[in-house]
């Protein structure tokens, strides 16, 4: 078992440093902006100015996590689908418009995907294992699986996170490359996992990723069977789409709450954790990440057993 010690999200919902994100959770309209915390509390003002949204979110969420757990992280694993889009676009504009030999390197330096995890290690002075994964809509799940593996290998304070940021350019791809009715949003969720229960309420029982075009219902059934449960045992399904709504006792499409970014299934983990805090009788939640039709991510969240 992989116990969720703490979880923080910065999204278009009021989700940062909340007792329970369900208290204020509402379906997003296209009008909702990113709800930014006071980043100055986590990042020196001089540094803040040159940091894009994705870096601000990632650094702040992970620092807020570190404050809540006793041990320094002994592993940092971050997933991002499209990475630092603001700085990537900024540098693309620079190289196409600025002539002469002197180009500012800041946007280039901050354009690489691992700027997020690198900056976290730098700000926390953390020398541990530091990894950045990017696999389109499964970017969070592959980062999470690395974190779980780190715990299997004996690490005990494992930071796993996902972050993506929206830029206006994405709107041009709607309907052609990106099929979604949801607004493009930015979001970051970071959680601390441990092999020890501590004060945690819930744990991640299993996470699996699929890259085949096999029937998704069959894959879900096999995944549940491998974890000794079935649809009947699920109290809640959090799903990107709504393919499994008819089989669920309770069902939410998490994209309605997170908006569209490809690592939004990390926010669903936050929804699941807080759901179990709020709903004392519920035990098991399945997150179905079917955001892209050619792949599938499944994460099973379970309430910790109460010791007698």
């Amino acid at each position: 078992m992989y116990f969720i010690q703490h979880i923080e999200s910065i999204t278009h919902q009021d989700s940062f440093q909340k007792d329970n994100i369900w208290n204020d959770l509402k379906p997003l309209t296209g009008e909702n902006e990113l709800i930014s915390p006071d980043y100055k509390n986590y990042i020196p003002v001089a540094a803040l100015r040159r940091l894009s949204t994705i870096l601000r979110m990632g650094i702040t969420a992970s620092k807020a996590c570190q404050e809540k757990v006793a041990n320094e992280f002994d592993s940092i694993s971050v997933g991002t689908a499209l990475g630092c889009l603001t700085d990537t676009e900024k540098f693309l504009v620079t190289i196409n418009t600025v002539s002469g030999d002197i180009l500012s390197p800041t946007a280039f330096i901050q354009s690489t995907h691992n700027t997020i995890s690198g900056q976290i290690s730098l700000d926390l002075k953390n020398h541990a294992y530091n990894m950045t994964h990017t696999q389109n809509a499964l970017s969070f799940e592959v980062a999470l699986k690395d974190g779980l593996l780190c715990i299997d290998e004996g690490k005990n304070s494992v930071l796993v996170g996902a972050a993506d940021e929206a830029i206006p350019f994405l709107e041009r791809l709607r309907g052609s490359l990106i099929e979604t009715e949801h607004p493009f949003t930015s979001g970051a969720t970071f959680l601390v996992l441990s092999g020890e229960k501590g004060n945690s309420i819930a744990c991640i029982q299993a996470c699996e990723v699929y890259f085949t075009n096999e029937n998704k219902a069959t894959q879900v059934e096999q995944f549940l069977a491998a974890n000794n449960c079935s649809f009947q045992d699920l109290d809640l399904i959090l799903e990107a789409g709504s393919d499994f709504k008819s089989q669920a006792k309770k069902h939410y499409s998490f994209l309605k709450y997170s908006g569209f970014y490809q690592s939004a299934s990390a926010f669903a983990v936050h929804m699941a954790n807080d759901w179990l805090i709020k709903n004392g009788d519920d035990k098991t939640i399945l997150i179905v990440n079917n955001l892209e039709s050619n792949k599938l991510g499944l994460t099973l969240i379970h309430r910790n057993d109460v010791e007698a």
Binding site: L92, I109, S176
Partner: protein
């Protein structure tokens, strides 16, 4: 449980496959030349002299894609050649890349900026994750696909993750490595950092000024002991150690004492169960920037003390191929193990005054080489090391 390397493939400016690469290494012939593209013509770069379309045709690829994906397909296909797909052998692919499909998306984006019609379908090749999915598709691998993006240590981190997933029983076999195609974005990026050497790069030389960029891909096939019994493949080498650590010093610069580098090398030695004195050759990261080479030298000195094994940087052969470098250099490492090769550090003349370290200067074969340590360090202080051992 041992992790075996059972396949390898490589493409870079010094050769389009393992055989050509060995010939170039042996003849001490660099692939770095004056650039041929509009954005590279002012620099010395390790370019591969074919267009994307030409590469797709020459290597009989089934997909049009970005340069990063195409180079990856070529090297991964060579590595996977002769490996049968078998539903009993769960096979994954983990690739490292820093820019993904930038070489094609930057062209479309330029049209957009100029108010011309940009072909939106090109952007589908942009995500780094897509490059790996395209490579996996070319090999018909679908049990697991992942992309590591930690700048210049990406390929070594992909190799490391592959080994850990094999050990944990999540996969039976995994194709691992890295790929990066040159793009205007990357060339302008490193130009903005002002770390290009206008002459041929000189790793570990007192007069070194900076890097020459390169492009390419390098992939390995890793299998467990159990899988080998079923696949019947002959192992080429053992992947015996790996380590990753964060320097946590600066966004782009390495700590002067090579703290992260030291941690990465030490943890790889620990995983391998080896002492520093067991290492017979170090393939250094050795980018030829003043900062990296000094920092790495201090790290090597810290780990190896006064008995430093023969070491060299092969960046003066290929240029710095960024996310691909650790994969390409792993292929060099396997060649070195199997033929007892010490690879020369081309263009070296004068030791760095502060360290006095002298790398391997001439190519030689037939040396006794049992264990090789290979370093890759990335932006953001991401430091990684693997150790390859002879069978």
């Amino acid at each position: 449980m041992r992790i075996y390397v059972t396949g390898y493939g490589v493409i870079s400016s010094i050769g389009e496959n393992v055989e050509e690469t060995l010939l170039a290494l042996r003849s001490e012939k660099t692939g770095i030349k004056q650039g041929k593209k509009t954005y590279s013509e002012h620099f010395k770069v390790g370019e591969i002299g074919w267009t994307n379309t030409e590469l797709v045709q020459r290597f009989d690829l089934t997909q049009e894609a970005s340069r990063t994906a195409i180079l990856g397909m070529i090297a991964a296909k060579e590595a996977f050649k002769g490996h049968a797909l078998n539903s009993d052998i769960r096979t994954g692919l983990i690739s490292g890349t820093s820019v993904g499909g930038m070489d094609v998306s930057e062209i479309a984006y330029k049209d957009f900026l100029n108010g011309e019609t940009d072909d939106l379908s090109i952007y589908k090749n942009h995500p780094s994750g897509t490059t790996s999915e395209q490579i996996a598709k070319e090999l018909e691998i679908d049990a697991y696909v992942n992309t590591i993006s930690t700048a210049c240590s990406s390929a070594v981190n992909a190799i490391m993750l592959g080994a850990r997933m094999l050990l944990s029983g999540q996969l039976d076999r995994v194709v691992v490595g890295g790929t990066d195609g040159l793009s205007q974005f990357t060339i302008s990026g490193f130009r903005s950092l002002m770390i290009f050497d206008e002459e041929w790069c000189r790793p570990f030389d007192e007069t070194r000024k900076g890097i020459n960029l390169g492009e390419g891909a390098g992939f390995l096939v890793l299998e467990t002991e159990e899988t080998i019994k079923r696949s019947g493949k002959q192992p080429l080498a053992i992947l015996s150690g790996w380590g990753n650590a964060s320097d946590a010093y600066h966004q782009t610069a390495s700590s002067p004492e090579g703290f992260g580098a030291t941690l990465a090398m030490k943890s790889a030695l620990k995983v391998a169960g080896l002492d520093p004195s067991d290492i017979d050759y170090i393939n250094a990261h050795g980018t030829a920037t003043p900062n990296n080479d000094l920092s790495e030298s201090h790290g090597i000195k810290t780990v190896f003390g006064s008995t430093i094994p023969p070491f060299s940087s092969t960046k003066s052969y290929t240029g710095h191929t960024l996310a691909a470098s650790g994969g390409i250099e792993a292929v060099f490492g396997i060649l070195a193990l199997n033929k007892g090769i010490l690879l020369p550090n081309l263009n070296f003349k004068q030791a760095i005054e502060e360290t006095g370290l002298v790398p391997v200067k001439n190519y030689s074969e037939g040396n006794t080489i049992k264990h090789i340590l290979s370093n890759s360090f990335g932006f953001g202080g991401n430091n990684s090391t693997i150790i390859l051992s002879a069978i």
